[in-house]
Protein backbone atom coordinates (compact mmCIF):
# COMPACT_ATOMS: atom_id res chain seq x y z
CA UNK A 1 0.00 0.00 0.00
CA UNK A 2 2.82 2.33 0.92
CA UNK A 3 4.54 1.60 -2.37
CA UNK A 4 1.33 2.34 -4.19
CA UNK A 5 0.95 5.75 -2.57
CA UNK A 6 4.58 6.59 -3.26
CA UNK A 7 4.02 5.79 -6.88
CA UNK A 8 0.78 7.75 -7.12
CA UNK A 9 2.57 10.72 -5.61
CA UNK A 10 5.27 10.49 -8.25
CA UNK A 11 2.69 10.32 -11.03
CA UNK A 12 0.92 13.39 -9.69
CA UNK A 13 4.22 15.25 -9.60
CA UNK A 14 4.89 14.31 -13.24
CA UNK A 15 1.53 15.61 -14.33
CA UNK A 16 1.69 18.79 -12.31
CA UNK A 17 5.19 19.62 -13.51
CA UNK A 18 4.23 19.33 -17.17
CA UNK A 19 2.57 22.73 -17.36
CA UNK A 20 1.78 22.72 -21.03
CA UNK A 21 -0.04 19.40 -21.01
CA UNK A 22 -1.83 20.33 -17.83
CA UNK A 23 -3.11 23.45 -19.49
CA UNK A 24 -4.47 21.42 -22.35
CA UNK A 25 -5.99 18.79 -20.09
CA UNK A 26 -7.91 21.25 -17.99
CA UNK A 27 -8.51 23.88 -20.59
CA UNK A 28 -9.69 21.59 -23.32
CA UNK A 29 -13.17 20.80 -22.04
CA UNK A 30 -13.78 24.46 -21.36
CA UNK A 31 -12.64 25.47 -24.80
CA UNK A 32 -14.67 22.77 -26.46
CA UNK A 33 -17.86 23.65 -24.65
CA UNK A 34 -17.43 27.31 -25.42
CA UNK A 35 -16.68 26.68 -29.06
CA UNK A 36 -19.54 24.27 -29.52
CA UNK A 37 -21.86 26.40 -27.50
CA UNK A 38 -21.27 29.74 -29.03
CA UNK A 39 -19.27 29.60 -32.17
CA UNK A 40 -20.54 26.51 -33.89
CA UNK A 41 -24.19 25.93 -34.33
CA UNK A 42 -26.37 23.81 -36.52
CA UNK A 43 -28.89 26.57 -36.65
CA UNK A 44 -28.63 28.86 -39.59
CA UNK A 45 -29.52 32.45 -38.83
CA UNK A 46 -29.51 35.67 -40.79
CA UNK A 47 -29.03 34.08 -44.16
CA UNK A 48 -29.16 36.56 -46.97
CA UNK A 49 -31.98 35.80 -49.38
CA UNK A 50 -33.65 37.54 -52.30
CA UNK A 51 -37.31 37.82 -53.14
CA UNK A 52 -38.43 38.26 -56.72
CA UNK A 53 -41.98 39.51 -56.75
CA UNK A 54 -43.39 40.63 -60.10
CA UNK A 55 -46.97 40.68 -58.85
CA UNK A 56 -46.51 42.77 -55.73
CA UNK A 57 -50.07 42.21 -54.66
CA UNK A 58 -51.55 42.06 -51.15
CA UNK A 59 -50.90 38.34 -50.75
CA UNK A 60 -47.34 38.34 -51.99
CA UNK A 61 -46.50 41.41 -49.94
CA UNK A 62 -47.98 39.79 -46.84
CA UNK A 63 -45.87 36.71 -47.33
CA UNK A 64 -42.83 38.84 -48.00
CA UNK A 65 -43.42 40.57 -44.69
CA UNK A 66 -43.46 37.22 -42.94
CA UNK A 67 -40.15 36.26 -44.45
CA UNK A 68 -38.67 39.59 -43.52
CA UNK A 69 -39.78 39.26 -39.95
CA UNK A 70 -38.09 35.90 -39.53
CA UNK A 71 -34.74 35.83 -37.71
CA UNK A 72 -33.52 33.25 -40.18
CA UNK A 73 -33.62 35.52 -43.19
CA UNK A 74 -32.10 38.81 -44.18
CA UNK A 75 -33.72 40.12 -47.31
CA UNK A 76 -31.42 41.56 -49.91
CA UNK A 77 -33.58 44.29 -51.38
CA UNK A 78 -31.94 45.31 -54.58
CA UNK A 79 -32.44 42.23 -56.68
CA UNK A 80 -35.16 42.67 -59.21
CA UNK A 81 -34.40 40.44 -62.13
CA UNK A 82 -33.61 36.78 -62.59
CA UNK A 83 -30.27 37.87 -63.95
CA UNK A 84 -29.43 39.76 -60.75
CA UNK A 85 -30.42 36.79 -58.69
CA UNK A 86 -28.38 34.33 -60.68
CA UNK A 87 -25.40 36.64 -60.40
CA UNK A 88 -25.80 36.93 -56.66
CA UNK A 89 -25.95 33.16 -56.26
CA UNK A 90 -22.78 32.75 -58.23
CA UNK A 91 -21.04 35.38 -56.19
CA UNK A 92 -22.21 33.67 -53.05
CA UNK A 93 -24.03 36.76 -51.87
CA UNK A 94 -27.37 35.07 -51.37
CA UNK A 95 -28.22 31.60 -50.12
CA UNK A 96 -31.81 31.38 -51.26
CA UNK A 97 -34.26 33.07 -53.56
CA UNK A 98 -38.05 33.13 -53.33
CA UNK A 99 -39.81 33.70 -56.61
CA UNK A 100 -43.46 34.67 -56.85
CA UNK A 101 -45.34 34.33 -60.12
CA UNK A 102 -47.23 37.24 -61.66
CA UNK A 103 -50.80 37.49 -60.39
CA UNK A 104 -50.05 35.53 -57.25
CA UNK A 105 -53.11 36.68 -55.36
CA UNK A 106 -55.45 36.01 -58.21
CA UNK A 107 -54.12 32.47 -58.54
CA UNK A 108 -54.50 32.00 -54.84
CA UNK A 109 -58.10 33.15 -54.61
CA UNK A 110 -59.51 31.94 -57.89
CA UNK A 111 -57.72 28.76 -58.76
CA UNK A 112 -56.66 27.76 -55.26
CA UNK A 113 -53.38 26.74 -56.75
CA UNK A 114 -50.83 29.43 -56.39
CA UNK A 115 -47.21 28.48 -56.83
CA UNK A 116 -44.07 29.83 -55.26
CA UNK A 117 -40.56 28.86 -56.15
CA UNK A 118 -37.83 28.42 -53.55
CA UNK A 119 -34.34 28.29 -55.00
CA UNK A 120 -31.67 27.33 -52.54
CA UNK A 121 -27.86 27.20 -52.75
CA UNK A 122 -27.18 23.54 -52.08
CA UNK A 123 -23.45 23.63 -52.41
CA UNK A 124 -23.68 23.11 -48.68
CA UNK A 125 -26.58 20.65 -48.65
CA UNK A 126 -27.18 21.10 -44.94
CA UNK A 127 -27.69 24.83 -45.18
CA UNK A 128 -29.62 24.46 -48.40
CA UNK A 129 -32.19 22.10 -46.94
CA UNK A 130 -32.36 23.94 -43.64
CA UNK A 131 -33.28 27.19 -45.36
CA UNK A 132 -35.91 25.49 -47.47
CA UNK A 133 -37.35 23.99 -44.31
CA UNK A 134 -37.51 27.36 -42.60
CA UNK A 135 -39.18 28.90 -45.66
CA UNK A 136 -41.67 26.05 -45.83
CA UNK A 137 -42.50 26.49 -42.19
CA UNK A 138 -43.24 30.16 -42.65
CA UNK A 139 -45.29 29.39 -45.75
CA UNK A 140 -47.12 26.65 -43.89
CA UNK A 141 -48.11 29.01 -41.10
CA UNK A 142 -49.42 31.46 -43.61
CA UNK A 143 -51.38 28.74 -45.39
CA UNK A 144 -52.96 27.59 -42.14
CA UNK A 145 -54.18 31.07 -41.46
CA UNK A 146 -55.64 31.37 -44.92
CA UNK A 147 -57.32 28.00 -44.93
CA UNK A 148 -58.61 28.63 -41.44
CA UNK A 149 -60.76 31.30 -43.00
CA UNK A 150 -62.02 29.34 -46.05
CA UNK A 151 -62.15 25.56 -45.56
CA UNK A 152 -64.39 23.71 -43.07
CA UNK A 153 -62.15 20.68 -42.56
CA UNK A 154 -58.58 21.17 -41.51
CA UNK A 155 -56.07 19.10 -39.67
CA UNK A 156 -54.24 21.12 -37.16
CA UNK A 157 -50.95 19.72 -36.10
CA UNK A 158 -49.72 20.33 -32.64
CA UNK A 159 -45.99 19.85 -32.35
CA UNK A 160 -44.16 19.05 -29.14
CA UNK A 161 -40.39 18.78 -29.10
CA UNK A 162 -39.85 16.44 -26.20
CA UNK A 163 -36.87 16.88 -23.87
CA UNK A 164 -35.45 19.73 -25.92
CA UNK A 165 -38.24 22.17 -26.76
CA UNK A 166 -35.93 24.93 -27.81
CA UNK A 167 -34.09 22.57 -30.12
CA UNK A 168 -30.81 23.57 -28.64
CA UNK A 169 -27.90 21.92 -30.33
CA UNK A 170 -26.13 21.96 -26.97
CA UNK A 171 -28.29 19.08 -25.79
CA UNK A 172 -26.61 16.86 -28.29
CA UNK A 173 -23.08 17.92 -28.04
CA UNK A 174 -22.57 18.21 -24.30
CA UNK A 175 -22.70 14.41 -23.93
CA UNK A 176 -20.53 14.19 -27.03
CA UNK A 177 -17.92 16.53 -25.60
CA UNK A 178 -17.92 14.53 -22.38
CA UNK A 179 -17.15 11.33 -24.25
CA UNK A 180 -14.45 12.96 -26.34
CA UNK A 181 -12.70 14.62 -23.44
CA UNK A 182 -12.66 11.43 -21.41
CA UNK A 183 -11.27 9.43 -24.28
CA UNK A 184 -8.54 11.95 -24.81
CA UNK A 185 -7.52 12.38 -21.20
CA UNK A 186 -7.86 8.83 -20.04
CA UNK A 187 -6.88 6.79 -23.02
CA UNK A 188 -4.23 8.92 -24.62
CA UNK A 189 -2.58 10.38 -21.55
CA UNK A 190 -2.47 7.11 -19.63
CA UNK A 191 -0.96 5.23 -22.51
CA UNK A 192 1.59 7.96 -23.10
CA UNK A 193 2.50 7.99 -19.44
CA UNK A 194 3.17 4.26 -19.36
CA UNK A 195 5.12 4.23 -22.58
CA UNK A 196 7.19 7.17 -21.36
CA UNK A 197 8.64 4.97 -18.65
CA UNK A 198 9.68 2.48 -21.29
CA UNK A 199 11.26 5.19 -23.41
CA UNK A 200 13.05 6.86 -20.54
CA UNK A 201 14.53 3.62 -19.32
CA UNK A 202 13.04 3.94 -15.86
CA UNK A 203 10.76 1.02 -16.64
CA UNK A 204 13.65 -1.39 -16.25
CA UNK A 205 14.43 -0.12 -12.81
CA UNK A 206 10.81 -0.33 -11.80
CA UNK A 207 10.60 -3.88 -13.03
CA UNK A 208 13.60 -4.88 -10.98
CA UNK A 209 12.17 -3.23 -7.91
CA UNK A 210 9.76 -5.01 -5.60
CA UNK A 211 6.92 -2.92 -6.98
CA UNK A 212 4.32 -5.16 -8.55
CA UNK A 213 3.72 -4.18 -12.19
CA UNK A 214 -0.02 -4.10 -11.70
CA UNK A 215 0.36 -1.52 -8.95
CA UNK A 216 2.48 0.58 -11.23
CA UNK A 217 -0.13 0.53 -13.93
CA UNK A 218 -3.00 1.28 -11.57
CA UNK A 219 -1.15 4.13 -9.94
CA UNK A 220 -0.53 5.67 -13.34
CA UNK A 221 -4.23 5.57 -14.03
CA UNK A 222 -5.37 7.02 -10.71
CA UNK A 223 -4.32 10.66 -11.25
CA UNK A 224 -6.07 10.63 -14.60
CA UNK A 225 -9.16 9.23 -12.96
CA UNK A 226 -9.30 12.24 -10.67
CA UNK A 227 -8.48 14.64 -13.45
CA UNK A 228 -11.32 13.22 -15.50
CA UNK A 229 -13.78 13.58 -12.66
CA UNK A 230 -12.78 17.21 -12.36
CA UNK A 231 -13.19 17.60 -16.12
CA UNK A 232 -16.64 16.05 -16.09
CA UNK A 233 -17.67 18.35 -13.27
CA UNK A 234 -16.38 21.35 -15.21
CA UNK A 235 -18.28 20.31 -18.30
CA UNK A 236 -21.48 19.77 -16.36
CA UNK A 237 -21.15 23.08 -14.55
CA UNK A 238 -20.55 24.92 -17.79
CA UNK A 239 -23.39 23.17 -19.48
CA UNK A 240 -25.88 23.92 -16.72
CA UNK A 241 -24.92 27.50 -16.00
CA UNK A 242 -23.48 28.80 -19.24
CA UNK A 243 -25.28 26.83 -21.93
CA UNK A 244 -28.46 26.37 -19.90
CA UNK A 245 -28.67 22.67 -20.57
CA UNK A 246 -30.06 21.27 -17.33
CA UNK A 247 -29.41 17.85 -15.87
CA UNK A 248 -32.83 16.30 -15.81
CA UNK A 249 -31.94 13.00 -14.21
CA UNK A 250 -29.97 11.92 -11.21
CA UNK A 251 -26.58 13.60 -10.89
CA UNK A 252 -25.32 10.66 -8.86
CA UNK A 253 -26.23 8.19 -11.60
CA UNK A 254 -24.57 10.43 -14.17
CA UNK A 255 -21.33 10.59 -12.20
CA UNK A 256 -21.43 6.84 -11.58
CA UNK A 257 -21.83 6.06 -15.25
CA UNK A 258 -19.14 8.58 -16.11
CA UNK A 259 -16.79 6.86 -13.70
CA UNK A 260 -17.51 3.58 -15.44
CA UNK A 261 -16.69 5.09 -18.80
CA UNK A 262 -13.54 6.62 -17.36
CA UNK A 263 -12.40 3.16 -16.32
CA UNK A 264 -13.23 1.84 -19.78
CA UNK A 265 -11.11 4.56 -21.34
CA UNK A 266 -8.28 3.91 -18.90
CA UNK A 267 -8.38 0.23 -19.76
CA UNK A 268 -8.12 1.16 -23.41
CA UNK A 269 -5.14 3.35 -22.60
CA UNK A 270 -3.54 0.41 -20.86
CA UNK A 271 -4.06 -1.82 -23.84
CA UNK A 272 -2.48 0.70 -26.16
CA UNK A 273 0.53 1.15 -23.93
CA UNK A 274 1.09 -2.61 -23.83
CA UNK A 275 1.46 -2.54 -27.58
CA UNK A 276 3.14 0.75 -28.27
CA UNK A 277 6.90 1.09 -28.29
CA UNK A 278 7.16 4.85 -28.25
CA UNK A 279 5.14 7.76 -26.99
CA UNK A 280 4.47 8.89 -30.51
CA UNK A 281 3.02 5.52 -31.43
CA UNK A 282 0.83 5.60 -28.36
CA UNK A 283 -0.42 9.04 -29.24
CA UNK A 284 -0.99 8.10 -32.84
CA UNK A 285 -2.94 4.96 -32.02
CA UNK A 286 -5.04 6.88 -29.50
CA UNK A 287 -5.87 9.67 -31.88
CA UNK A 288 -6.39 7.87 -35.14
CA UNK A 289 -7.39 4.47 -33.88
CA UNK A 290 -9.74 5.56 -31.14
CA UNK A 291 -10.54 9.21 -31.11
CA UNK A 292 -11.55 9.48 -34.74
CA UNK A 293 -13.81 6.42 -34.76
CA UNK A 294 -15.31 7.67 -31.51
CA UNK A 295 -16.12 10.98 -33.12
CA UNK A 296 -17.75 9.29 -36.07
CA UNK A 297 -19.42 6.27 -34.50
CA UNK A 298 -20.60 7.56 -31.16
CA UNK A 299 -23.61 9.16 -32.72
CA UNK A 300 -22.74 12.59 -31.51
CA UNK A 301 -21.97 14.24 -34.80
CA UNK A 302 -23.67 11.92 -37.25
CA UNK A 303 -26.78 9.92 -36.43
CA UNK A 304 -25.96 6.23 -36.34
CA UNK A 305 -29.39 5.29 -37.66
CA UNK A 306 -28.56 7.03 -40.90
CA UNK A 307 -25.51 4.90 -41.50
CA UNK A 308 -25.48 1.72 -43.61
CA UNK A 309 -26.01 -1.44 -41.60
CA UNK A 310 -22.37 -2.64 -41.54
CA UNK A 311 -21.30 0.69 -40.08
CA UNK A 312 -24.09 0.54 -37.54
CA UNK A 313 -22.73 -2.80 -36.44
CA UNK A 314 -19.24 -1.37 -36.11
CA UNK A 315 -20.57 1.44 -34.00
CA UNK A 316 -21.65 -1.12 -31.42
CA UNK A 317 -18.01 -1.87 -30.73
CA UNK A 318 -17.20 1.71 -29.89
CA UNK A 319 -17.62 2.21 -26.12
CA UNK A 320 -18.35 5.89 -26.58
CA UNK A 321 -21.53 5.08 -28.43
CA UNK A 322 -23.00 3.39 -25.38
CA UNK A 323 -21.81 6.13 -23.08
CA UNK A 324 -23.28 8.81 -25.30
CA UNK A 325 -26.63 7.05 -25.19
CA UNK A 326 -26.45 6.67 -21.43
CA UNK A 327 -25.55 10.30 -20.82
CA UNK A 328 -28.25 11.58 -23.10
CA UNK A 329 -30.81 9.37 -21.39
CA UNK A 330 -29.89 10.65 -17.97
CA UNK A 331 -29.10 14.25 -18.73
CA UNK A 332 -31.59 15.12 -21.41
CA UNK A 333 -34.40 12.66 -20.88
CA UNK A 334 -34.11 12.38 -17.13
CA UNK A 335 -34.34 8.61 -17.20
CA UNK A 336 -33.28 6.35 -14.38
CA UNK A 337 -31.15 3.22 -14.17
CA UNK A 338 -33.98 0.97 -15.32
CA UNK A 339 -33.86 2.53 -18.76
CA UNK A 340 -30.13 2.19 -19.22
CA UNK A 341 -29.17 -0.98 -17.38
CA UNK A 342 -28.58 -2.86 -20.62
CA UNK A 343 -26.20 -0.26 -21.97
CA UNK A 344 -24.45 -0.05 -18.62
CA UNK A 345 -23.97 -3.79 -18.62
CA UNK A 346 -22.46 -3.66 -22.09
CA UNK A 347 -20.05 -0.93 -21.05
CA UNK A 348 -19.15 -2.87 -17.93
CA UNK A 349 -18.53 -6.00 -19.97
CA UNK A 350 -16.31 -4.10 -22.38
CA UNK A 351 -14.29 -2.73 -19.48
CA UNK A 352 -13.68 -6.14 -17.93
CA UNK A 353 -12.73 -7.54 -21.31
CA UNK A 354 -10.27 -4.73 -22.02
CA UNK A 355 -8.72 -4.99 -18.57
CA UNK A 356 -8.31 -8.72 -18.97
CA UNK A 357 -6.52 -8.47 -22.31
CA UNK A 358 -4.31 -5.64 -21.15
CA UNK A 359 -3.21 -7.49 -18.05
CA UNK A 360 -2.51 -10.57 -20.11
CA UNK A 361 -0.49 -8.58 -22.62
CA UNK A 362 1.49 -6.94 -19.87
CA UNK A 363 2.32 -10.25 -18.26
CA UNK A 364 3.58 -11.62 -21.55
CA UNK A 365 5.77 -8.62 -22.23
CA UNK A 366 7.29 -8.65 -18.82
CA UNK A 367 8.37 -12.24 -19.01
Amino acid sequence: MEQFLVFVKKECLHILRDRRTLFILFGMPIVQIVIFGFALSNEVKNSTIAILDPSKDAASLQLTERFEASKYFDIQKNLNTIGDIEKSFREGKIKMAIVFPENFREDLLHTNKAQIQFISDASDPNIGTTLINYANAILGDYQNELSGQNLPYTIKTEVRMLYNPQLKAAFNFVPGVMAMVLMLVCTMMTSISIVKEKEMGTMEVLLVSPLRPILMVVSKAIPYLFLSIINISTILLLSVYVLEVPIQGSLFLLMAESTLFIITSLALGLLISAGAASQQTAMFISLVGLFMPTLVFSGFMFPIDNMPIPLQVISNVVPAKWFFYIVKSIMIKGLGFKAIWKETLILFGMTIFLLAISIKKFKIRLS
Binding site: E2, Q3, L5, V6, F7, K9, K10, L13, H14, R17, D18, M200, G201, T202, E204, V205, L206, L207, V208, S209, P210, L211, L366, S367
Partner: protein, 247 residues
Amino acid sequence: MKAKVIEVKNLTKRFGDFTAVDHISFDVKQGEIFGFLGANGAGKTTAMRMLCGLSLPTSGEALVAGFNVFTETESIKKSIGYMSQKFSLYEDLTIKENMQFYGGIYGMTDIAIKEKTQFILHHLHLEPEQNKLVKSLPLGWKQKLSFSIAVFHNPAIVFLDEPTGGVDPITRREFWEMIYQAAQDGTTVFVTTHYMDEAEYCDRVSIMVDGKIDALDTPSALKSSNNAESMEEVFIALARKATRSAD
Protein backbone atom coordinates in the same frame (compact mmCIF):
# COMPACT_ATOMS: atom_id res chain seq x y z
CA MET B 1 36.30 -17.33 3.20
CA LYS B 2 33.71 -14.84 2.03
CA ALA B 3 30.17 -16.02 1.47
CA LYS B 4 28.88 -16.54 -2.04
CA VAL B 5 26.14 -14.06 -2.89
CA ILE B 6 25.55 -15.32 -6.40
CA GLU B 7 25.76 -18.98 -7.28
CA VAL B 8 25.04 -20.00 -10.84
CA LYS B 9 25.04 -23.57 -12.16
CA ASN B 10 24.34 -24.45 -15.80
CA LEU B 11 21.98 -21.55 -16.21
CA THR B 12 20.33 -21.68 -19.61
CA LYS B 13 17.83 -19.53 -21.47
CA ARG B 14 16.29 -20.60 -24.72
CA PHE B 15 13.94 -18.62 -26.92
CA GLY B 16 12.46 -21.24 -29.20
CA ASP B 17 15.39 -22.67 -31.13
CA PHE B 18 17.77 -19.99 -30.07
CA THR B 19 19.90 -20.54 -26.98
CA ALA B 20 20.74 -17.10 -25.68
CA VAL B 21 22.51 -18.30 -22.55
CA ASP B 22 24.13 -21.69 -22.70
CA HIS B 23 24.83 -23.49 -19.42
CA ILE B 24 26.81 -20.83 -17.67
CA SER B 25 28.25 -21.47 -14.22
CA PHE B 26 30.04 -19.11 -11.87
CA ASP B 27 30.04 -17.73 -8.32
CA VAL B 28 30.38 -14.25 -6.97
CA LYS B 29 31.63 -13.61 -3.44
CA GLN B 30 30.39 -11.02 -1.08
CA GLY B 31 32.01 -7.60 -1.50
CA GLU B 32 33.48 -8.56 -4.83
CA ILE B 33 33.47 -6.29 -7.85
CA PHE B 34 32.55 -8.68 -10.59
CA GLY B 35 32.87 -7.57 -14.20
CA PHE B 36 30.50 -9.26 -16.60
CA LEU B 37 31.83 -8.71 -20.08
CA GLY B 38 30.94 -9.84 -23.55
CA ALA B 39 30.37 -8.56 -27.04
CA ASN B 40 26.96 -7.43 -28.21
CA GLY B 41 24.80 -10.46 -28.67
CA ALA B 42 26.84 -12.66 -26.35
CA GLY B 43 23.98 -13.10 -23.92
CA LYS B 44 25.07 -10.73 -21.13
CA THR B 45 21.80 -8.86 -20.86
CA THR B 46 19.75 -12.04 -20.89
CA ALA B 47 21.90 -13.53 -18.17
CA MET B 48 21.62 -10.42 -16.04
CA ARG B 49 17.87 -10.32 -16.44
CA MET B 50 17.64 -13.84 -15.08
CA LEU B 51 19.76 -12.92 -12.08
CA CYS B 52 17.61 -9.86 -11.40
CA GLY B 53 14.47 -11.93 -11.34
CA LEU B 54 13.14 -10.37 -14.53
CA SER B 55 13.09 -13.47 -16.65
CA LEU B 56 12.71 -17.12 -15.82
CA PRO B 57 15.56 -19.39 -16.88
CA THR B 58 14.82 -22.35 -19.09
CA SER B 59 16.97 -24.64 -17.00
CA GLY B 60 19.82 -24.68 -14.51
CA GLU B 61 20.04 -23.27 -11.02
CA ALA B 62 20.92 -19.94 -9.56
CA LEU B 63 20.85 -18.37 -6.12
CA VAL B 64 20.98 -14.60 -5.83
CA ALA B 65 21.45 -13.27 -2.30
CA GLY B 66 20.48 -16.74 -1.19
CA PHE B 67 17.16 -16.71 -3.07
CA ASN B 68 16.14 -19.04 -5.85
CA VAL B 69 15.71 -17.34 -9.25
CA PHE B 70 12.86 -19.66 -10.14
CA THR B 71 10.73 -19.44 -7.04
CA GLU B 72 11.79 -16.42 -5.01
CA THR B 73 12.03 -13.58 -7.50
CA GLU B 74 10.17 -11.16 -5.22
CA SER B 75 12.73 -11.67 -2.47
CA ILE B 76 15.54 -11.24 -4.95
CA LYS B 77 14.11 -7.93 -6.09
CA LYS B 78 14.01 -6.66 -2.53
CA SER B 79 17.65 -7.55 -2.01
CA ILE B 80 19.21 -6.07 -5.08
CA GLY B 81 19.75 -2.65 -6.56
CA TYR B 82 19.90 -1.77 -10.22
CA MET B 83 21.30 1.04 -12.28
CA SER B 84 20.45 1.15 -15.94
CA GLN B 85 22.32 2.68 -18.82
CA LYS B 86 19.92 5.56 -18.91
CA PHE B 87 20.60 6.32 -15.26
CA SER B 88 17.08 5.55 -14.08
CA LEU B 89 16.35 9.00 -12.70
CA TYR B 90 13.20 11.00 -13.26
CA GLU B 91 14.27 14.23 -14.89
CA ASP B 92 11.19 16.17 -13.95
CA LEU B 93 11.43 15.30 -10.28
CA THR B 94 13.83 16.91 -7.83
CA ILE B 95 16.86 15.11 -6.43
CA LYS B 96 15.13 14.73 -3.11
CA GLU B 97 11.92 13.48 -4.69
CA ASN B 98 13.79 10.84 -6.65
CA MET B 99 15.37 9.55 -3.47
CA GLN B 100 12.10 9.59 -1.60
CA PHE B 101 10.48 7.70 -4.42
CA TYR B 102 12.99 4.90 -4.64
CA GLY B 103 13.24 4.65 -0.88
CA GLY B 104 9.47 4.27 -0.72
CA ILE B 105 9.42 1.67 -3.47
CA TYR B 106 11.88 -0.44 -1.52
CA GLY B 107 9.76 -0.22 1.58
CA MET B 108 12.05 1.93 3.68
CA THR B 109 10.53 3.79 6.61
CA ASP B 110 10.15 7.54 6.38
CA ILE B 111 12.84 8.08 8.98
CA ALA B 112 15.27 5.79 7.21
CA ILE B 113 14.60 7.56 3.93
CA LYS B 114 15.17 10.94 5.51
CA GLU B 115 18.44 9.92 7.10
CA LYS B 116 19.79 8.28 4.01
CA THR B 117 18.74 11.23 1.87
CA GLN B 118 20.63 13.65 4.07
CA PHE B 119 23.64 11.34 4.10
CA ILE B 120 23.84 11.07 0.35
CA LEU B 121 23.20 14.77 -0.23
CA HIS B 122 26.00 15.54 2.14
CA HIS B 123 28.33 12.92 0.71
CA LEU B 124 27.84 14.13 -2.86
CA HIS B 125 27.87 17.79 -1.82
CA LEU B 126 24.46 18.17 -3.35
CA GLU B 127 22.75 19.79 -0.37
CA PRO B 128 22.22 23.16 -2.05
CA GLU B 129 20.72 21.44 -5.11
CA GLN B 130 18.40 19.08 -3.31
CA ASN B 131 15.23 20.75 -4.52
CA LYS B 132 16.37 21.23 -8.06
CA LEU B 133 15.05 19.12 -10.86
CA VAL B 134 17.33 16.32 -11.92
CA LYS B 135 17.39 17.56 -15.46
CA SER B 136 19.42 20.54 -14.34
CA LEU B 137 22.26 18.32 -13.15
CA PRO B 138 25.32 17.73 -15.30
CA LEU B 139 25.76 14.20 -16.59
CA GLY B 140 28.49 13.20 -14.18
CA TRP B 141 26.39 14.16 -11.17
CA LYS B 142 23.40 12.31 -12.53
CA GLN B 143 25.54 9.23 -12.78
CA LYS B 144 26.74 9.47 -9.20
CA LEU B 145 23.26 10.21 -7.97
CA SER B 146 21.92 7.28 -9.92
CA PHE B 147 24.41 4.95 -8.28
CA SER B 148 23.62 6.31 -4.84
CA ILE B 149 19.98 5.67 -5.46
CA ALA B 150 20.69 2.16 -6.70
CA VAL B 151 22.26 1.38 -3.33
CA PHE B 152 19.87 3.56 -1.35
CA HIS B 153 18.18 0.66 0.38
CA ASN B 154 21.49 -1.07 1.23
CA PRO B 155 21.04 -4.05 -1.03
CA ALA B 156 23.34 -7.03 -0.82
CA ILE B 157 24.11 -6.83 -4.52
CA VAL B 158 23.95 -3.98 -6.98
CA PHE B 159 23.69 -4.63 -10.71
CA LEU B 160 25.16 -1.96 -12.94
CA ASP B 161 24.27 -2.19 -16.60
CA GLU B 162 26.87 -0.21 -18.54
CA PRO B 163 26.74 2.62 -16.05
CA THR B 164 29.43 4.83 -17.47
CA GLY B 165 28.22 5.59 -20.94
CA GLY B 166 28.92 9.08 -22.18
CA VAL B 167 30.98 10.49 -19.33
CA ASP B 168 34.55 11.69 -19.42
CA PRO B 169 37.42 9.61 -17.97
CA ILE B 170 37.79 11.75 -14.86
CA THR B 171 34.12 11.37 -14.00
CA ARG B 172 34.38 7.69 -14.69
CA ARG B 173 37.27 7.44 -12.30
CA GLU B 174 35.29 9.25 -9.61
CA PHE B 175 32.39 6.93 -10.24
CA TRP B 176 34.59 3.93 -9.72
CA GLU B 177 35.71 5.42 -6.43
CA MET B 178 32.10 5.20 -5.36
CA ILE B 179 31.95 1.59 -6.51
CA TYR B 180 35.08 0.75 -4.51
CA GLN B 181 33.60 2.38 -1.45
CA ALA B 182 30.38 0.40 -1.79
CA ALA B 183 32.33 -2.83 -2.19
CA GLN B 184 34.36 -2.05 0.87
CA ASP B 185 31.16 -1.52 2.80
CA GLY B 186 30.14 -5.04 1.87
CA THR B 187 27.93 -4.47 -1.17
CA THR B 188 28.67 -6.84 -4.00
CA VAL B 189 28.93 -5.10 -7.35
CA PHE B 190 27.97 -6.86 -10.56
CA VAL B 191 28.87 -4.61 -13.45
CA THR B 192 28.74 -4.91 -17.22
CA THR B 193 30.76 -2.54 -19.29
CA HIS B 194 32.26 -2.02 -22.69
CA TYR B 195 35.14 0.01 -21.38
CA MET B 196 38.01 -2.39 -21.05
CA ASP B 197 39.99 -0.09 -18.80
CA GLU B 198 37.16 -0.44 -16.31
CA ALA B 199 37.51 -4.18 -16.56
CA GLU B 200 40.89 -3.70 -14.95
CA TYR B 201 39.26 -2.23 -11.87
CA CYS B 202 37.26 -5.37 -11.20
CA ASP B 203 38.27 -8.11 -8.80
CA ARG B 204 37.32 -10.76 -11.31
CA VAL B 205 36.03 -10.64 -14.83
CA SER B 206 34.01 -13.06 -16.93
CA ILE B 207 33.80 -12.86 -20.68
CA MET B 208 30.78 -14.30 -22.45
CA VAL B 209 30.98 -15.44 -26.05
CA ASP B 210 28.00 -16.88 -27.91
CA GLY B 211 26.05 -17.59 -24.76
CA LYS B 212 28.85 -19.36 -22.92
CA ILE B 213 31.39 -18.11 -20.44
CA ASP B 214 34.67 -18.27 -22.22
CA ALA B 215 36.92 -16.93 -19.52
CA LEU B 216 36.60 -16.20 -15.82
CA ASP B 217 39.47 -14.94 -13.70
CA THR B 218 41.18 -11.90 -12.25
CA PRO B 219 42.26 -9.33 -14.84
CA SER B 220 45.94 -10.03 -14.27
CA ALA B 221 45.48 -13.79 -14.65
CA LEU B 222 43.53 -13.28 -17.86
CA LYS B 223 46.20 -11.03 -19.24
CA SER B 224 49.01 -13.42 -18.54
CA SER B 225 47.18 -16.49 -19.83
CA ASN B 226 46.37 -14.70 -23.03
CA ASN B 227 49.72 -13.02 -23.41
CA ALA B 228 48.05 -9.68 -23.40
CA GLU B 229 49.13 -6.30 -22.09
CA SER B 230 45.62 -5.05 -21.47
CA MET B 231 42.11 -6.33 -20.95
CA GLU B 232 41.28 -4.89 -24.31
CA GLU B 233 43.61 -7.31 -25.98
CA VAL B 234 42.17 -10.17 -23.96
CA PHE B 235 38.70 -9.21 -24.95
CA ILE B 236 39.51 -8.91 -28.62
CA ALA B 237 41.28 -12.24 -28.64
CA LEU B 238 38.33 -14.01 -27.09
CA ALA B 239 35.44 -12.09 -28.61
CA ARG B 240 36.80 -12.54 -32.06
CA LYS B 241 35.73 -16.12 -31.93
CA ALA B 242 32.10 -15.10 -31.66
CA THR B 243 29.62 -16.03 -34.33
CA ARG B 244 26.69 -13.96 -33.00
CA SER B 245 26.67 -10.25 -33.45
CA ALA B 246 23.59 -8.68 -31.93
CA ASP B 247 21.37 -9.09 -28.89
